[in-house]
Amino acid sequence: MAQASSINKSRVQHHFMNAEQQFSSSKLGMWLFLFTEIMFFGGLFVAYIIYRSWNPELFTMAATQLDTMLGAVNTVVLIGSSLTIALAIRSAQLNDTKKIFYYLLSTIALATVFLVIKYFEYTAKFDVGILPGAMYTFEGIDHPKANIFFSIYYMMTGLHGLHVLIGIGLMLWLLVRVKAGDYSSEYYTPVEMTGLYWHIVDIIWIFLFPLMYLID
């Protein structure tokens, strides 16, 4: 017990009163970062809104090229991964190190499934010449600005995909530290913060799915 509390003390940096204050400060810092993430993706959502308001018929036509089924499956996959990372945090709070490891592993597996599906979606489009901007050569959409929809599509889903990839990287790092026995109910701040990041990635997809795939 004395040893446990001394380990706990060593985690608290000198400018914090106690572990509790340090934890809530980290959490506030993470929420401020998520604020910048919302503004970051917000810029792309603004681009989407402007071009859709200028060319409503283009968005209706171009969205038919996206596979609603694959988009829906990916939505379910990300919701599942949000549950598994929430369970990982819960396991940390309950001091069950083994379960933190397995829930993080499940989250990584689901994130990988998401990216694999995205890979097949992208390559199927590349094969018919649906590429962003000036590289666009697809003839199937009778609209002079068809490439604009796909530039926005690739930018938004690509940036989201990059966030998924970064999330996998963070969770692999967590796995190493869980194995090293760094986390317990006394200290699990990185697991909690990665969870918050992962949920915001899920929320962004929750908006991307209907806005990209579900236009008549």
Partner: protein, 100 residues
Amino acid sequence: MSGHHIIPLKVLLNTTIALLALTIVTVGVFYLDIPAPFDVVVAIILASSKATIVAMFFMGLYYDDKFNTIVLIFSLIFLLVFVGITLLDTLFRDSTMAIW
């Protein structure tokens, strides 16, 4: 101990079920073919409900220090300012002007 609330397992599972149900509704509504401006409105309302559920229960804002919720709400206010002021320009441009 506001930051260390252990969310009950039942809450996490019900949150997941609610999100899956709303996803089914989102896809179902798409096949109803709601006329033009309202389909987007319905889609945004459903997506916002899902996002709120994720923020409240998965991200734990419901149990958390309320200041974190204020940070989130402010980010949404700034986003609305961003969208609103941009649209004040782009929606009211001269239609004879060459635009992209």
